[in-house]
Subunit: 320 residues, 4 copies
Amino acid sequence: MKRIAVMTSGGDAPGMNAAIRAVVRAGIAKDVEVYGIRQAYQGLLAGDMERLTSREVSGILQRGGTILQTARNEEFKTAQGQRKALRRLNEENIEGVVVIGGDGSLRGANVLSQLGIPTIGIPASIDNDIFGTDTSIGVDTALNTILDALDRLRDTATSHNRCFIIEVMGRNCGYLALTGGILGGAEVVITPERPMKMEEVAAELEAAYVKGKAHAIAIIAEGAPYKVTDLSEFLEKQQVGFEIRLTILGHTQRGGSPSAFDRLLATRMGVEAVNRLLSGESGVMVARQGRKQTTVPLEEVTSQMRAISDEYFELASLLQ
Amino acid sequence: MKRIAVMTSGGDAPGMNAAIRAVVRAGIAKDVEVYGIRQAYQGLLAGDMERLTSREVSGILQRGGTILQTARNEEFKTAQGQRKALRRLNEENIEGVVVIGGDGSLRGANVLSQLGIPTIGIPASIDNDIFGTDTSIGVDTALNTILDALDRLRDTATSHNRCFIIEVMGRNCGYLALTGGILGGAEVVITPERPMKMEEVAAELEAAYVKGKAHAIAIIAEGAPYKVTDLSEFLEKQQVGFEIRLTILGHTQRGGSPSAFDRLLATRMGVEAVNRLLSGESGVMVARQGRKQTTVPLEEVTSQMRAISDEYFELASLLQ
Amino acid sequence: MKRIAVMTSGGDAPGMNAAIRAVVRAGIAKDVEVYGIRQAYQGLLAGDMERLTSREVSGILQRGGTILQTARNEEFKTAQGQRKALRRLNEENIEGVVVIGGDGSLRGANVLSQLGIPTIGIPASIDNDIFGTDTSIGVDTALNTILDALDRLRDTATSHNRCFIIEVMGRNCGYLALTGGILGGAEVVITPERPMKMEEVAAELEAAYVKGKAHAIAIIAEGAPYKVTDLSEFLEKQQVGFEIRLTILGHTQRGGSPSAFDRLLATRMGVEAVNRLLSGESGVMVARQGRKQTTVPLEEVTSQMRAISDEYFELASLLQ
Amino acid sequence: MKRIAVMTSGGDAPGMNAAIRAVVRAGIAKDVEVYGIRQAYQGLLAGDMERLTSREVSGILQRGGTILQTARNEEFKTAQGQRKALRRLNEENIEGVVVIGGDGSLRGANVLSQLGIPTIGIPASIDNDIFGTDTSIGVDTALNTILDALDRLRDTATSHNRCFIIEVMGRNCGYLALTGGILGGAEVVITPERPMKMEEVAAELEAAYVKGKAHAIAIIAEGAPYKVTDLSEFLEKQQVGFEIRLTILGHTQRGGSPSAFDRLLATRMGVEAVNRLLSGESGVMVARQGRKQTTVPLEEVTSQMRAISDEYFELASLLQ
């Protein structure tokens, strides 16, 4: 191979830039030109790509976001769109592609591979919901952002009788809520995996109030069975004892300079993806399993969702 | 005077601990014992106070929250409650009081002064709504917390076509929203002072979308004429072009280690309050006006609200 | 005026980018083109300048460093160099210049003004040593960086019997050391203004040890009469009781995202500089005095150094 | 077992408090009383220990340092000292001990175990030099602190022609220097494992200068064969082209709020240590190997030093 391309797709995650940099520098070290495709599959269809030199990726390691941007695209889901993508890659003599992103992005990577373009995926998703790898790029940074918010809330808990409800990301996966709850100290954790009825939440908070707790924190994943604003209203009506105060972290969790852990993960995965691509692999995702760097077929990765280890639920109940 | 007391009251603000430390150390330097009253007026009525030595305030300078806690109290608003407060102070031979807090707390301080207890107020309120002083303890730290969130949102704006709505504190005062908007870069700022109709917000965002902006940020003060969740729903229905994403910072704005500015302000005000108290002043609030440390009668402070300078509104429209 | 230029010069300071952005946007709002001169006077002599549009300064507000870079230059100090600078500005039809920087940079600005080019200075220097203004761009951020380091050192003071010596910037001015010492809690502060002999430092630390202090922090300005490494060696030989541990913050103090305070200061000064330039002022520096934005003749600014207020020395001795 | 004790020993590391909290809460959950021994082996010999309840460890999870403090002690190295330690534990009916610390502390733990006191070690050392575990408590936080400093230095590299020399911790182990260099972007990395002669460092920097690099960063571990101040002087004399600027992070690396990773590691290890102790294990250290929590005999742990994986040296040379 003499020329490969890299793109970032789906919800952005801190560390994507570090992965781009690693792909570019590893490529250059192996005498391979690396092109950057802007705005993911939409840019691919538009032929919006350009060669990235070492200089272009200098100083991006520590930046949040992605210099290549991401975008949604419907056309690539059609056979016609896929043919066009193939044509664009051929026009530019791109012989292989690295796709950095979450579940949907990796599905697209699988399609590219099946179209005959050697393609390797790199898991990036702050939700930690990607199957086949212990963790994904962005999770560690997002968790640190959440802990920073929880530490601040605990500072201010010196005003008595407050219950802070805080919503964190995780549409299908309660990983951030659960680990945030363990490491930031929450009385109640509400996840899609083990949802609680609003009545149960109220009962737990009331119990904490009656027991004499000065304040309480409830952390709720985006993918809980009810909206956080509905929960907040419900709790106020129930008069659990505490005054209810709401925080929604939203997209602040996707931003910020990537942590050491995410920079290392992204760097390793970027280098590994290039190595695998050049050694002829395709249709796989680079994965971290224990201390081992390995690959998992994209077919397998996209057919299921990563489950949270029971260990976390046990830790949460043990340490509360 | 041989013995004075200090309390923190109302919504807590980063820097309250730095002010407590300054009061205690300045007192000790003048051979005055300093008592800490826990949980504000409630603790005062309960006689919940204890001598603070230099050691007790060692290592609190950098901590968020307040070691003396705060609480609400209704009883102190009654004549009977006020008599009880007086009695408690006499029981402990407290000859003067320093009250650190916001508008409501300073009203209480005024009452104490009128009851004959020499009392000095120190303005602490992240909202920056206290009349008579350029700024209050906690404002600078809260603003830095808001900018950190806005910087993160801007990082993630590499995913196209998003509009981030972010709610910040300020029930009566749009200072945090407005300066946050200027210094963090917002397309729309909604304050209680210059509210916009939801239709106007939608029109501005639509215009930004049509002009080709890749993303937009709207910052809204808690005290806007409508709830942020209602605005968010309205904008989604209006289809302004951008996808709407919501962040509510909530009480994270009250937490965190105080900034250099707040530590310095709190330290200066704490020392000044002790000096003023010992030199016989009462019924006044320590204030910062330009580079000058001065005092303002509590009567005056609590009779009106600090207005935002027009300069900020001009800067906002100039720099957008 | 239809076209002006802006440059950053001397030691860089956090907030320079915010000032550049404000100059550009304020210029555009007044229908004036703004050129950016790269690498200060060296770039000016080389004609290395380019028009800055609103887009180029979008997203730089929160970045440390300066997109225009800085550099040293000897040629501009000669009459020939100054003629060349004039010629370059005329070649590009630049009718006014804004110079953002410290003492040396402002001397250059004064030269430009005397050459007949309308020129306004903006004070930027983390040392807070610029005469005529209460504070300069970068001071607040640097102080927050120093406090972060001091807070970390205090965390780790749980290992008994350590004395941390920490060197901070300030070649001629002990402002950072002194305020860092007050707000970060140091036992000893060594400034150029009130230097201590090494023997005195040793005596103070020994006294702290004997008194039973578990640890001590000594903060020393770069411009102290001896090197921090020499002090460290001296104290080890003297066996003051504590083990000596050294931290030199160095240029980390010049980096980092600017604080809210520095963003606001830089924004205001940038806007003000453009207004003053367009209204015909030249040879002056924009200054902050109390709550007032004003100007001071560059001649005056560069003829003396800002002195630290005695208030700080008093606070330091009061609060230790 | 009905009563166990916990201590922190050696150089402190962020996350020690999180480990203490986990030991206490896991103990309580199993109906075991947990005593805290203050100041490590010195406190053990002095009988300085006290019961820790859930309340005492509430709110310490996010704090740097260790609430139990650490200290050096020579007496425990003698047979007489060890007998005294045994006696103290018997006096208080302590049936098992958890020791949190680095290499030296774990040697002490091994002694306790050999004396017949069931003892489990938990690895805590920012240097990442403890054999038998993938990582130790504190490494991740220290690395993030180093990256923050490197990011700041890179911000300020807009002033041309500077070479920043930065010293990081690691007496015997270059892990922090090497990973800091990879993830923070350094031109030269000097470790105890692969030391470079000063002449080689000068040659590399000169080459970078000649190649046209605007600035350079050299990162050096504490345990390099020469002092960083000597290197700095040498490079200045050699006139490598860049001006040399020095930063020594020192003990700031041991402080700060622990990262998410360190909080999780410490929490897991604390819980595991209690489980192992109660199930009858002794003389082992809790270890993380891949995704597995396991134990390693203290004899083995203390007989050798963890080596850095070659992968890191390869990454460093690949990405520079």
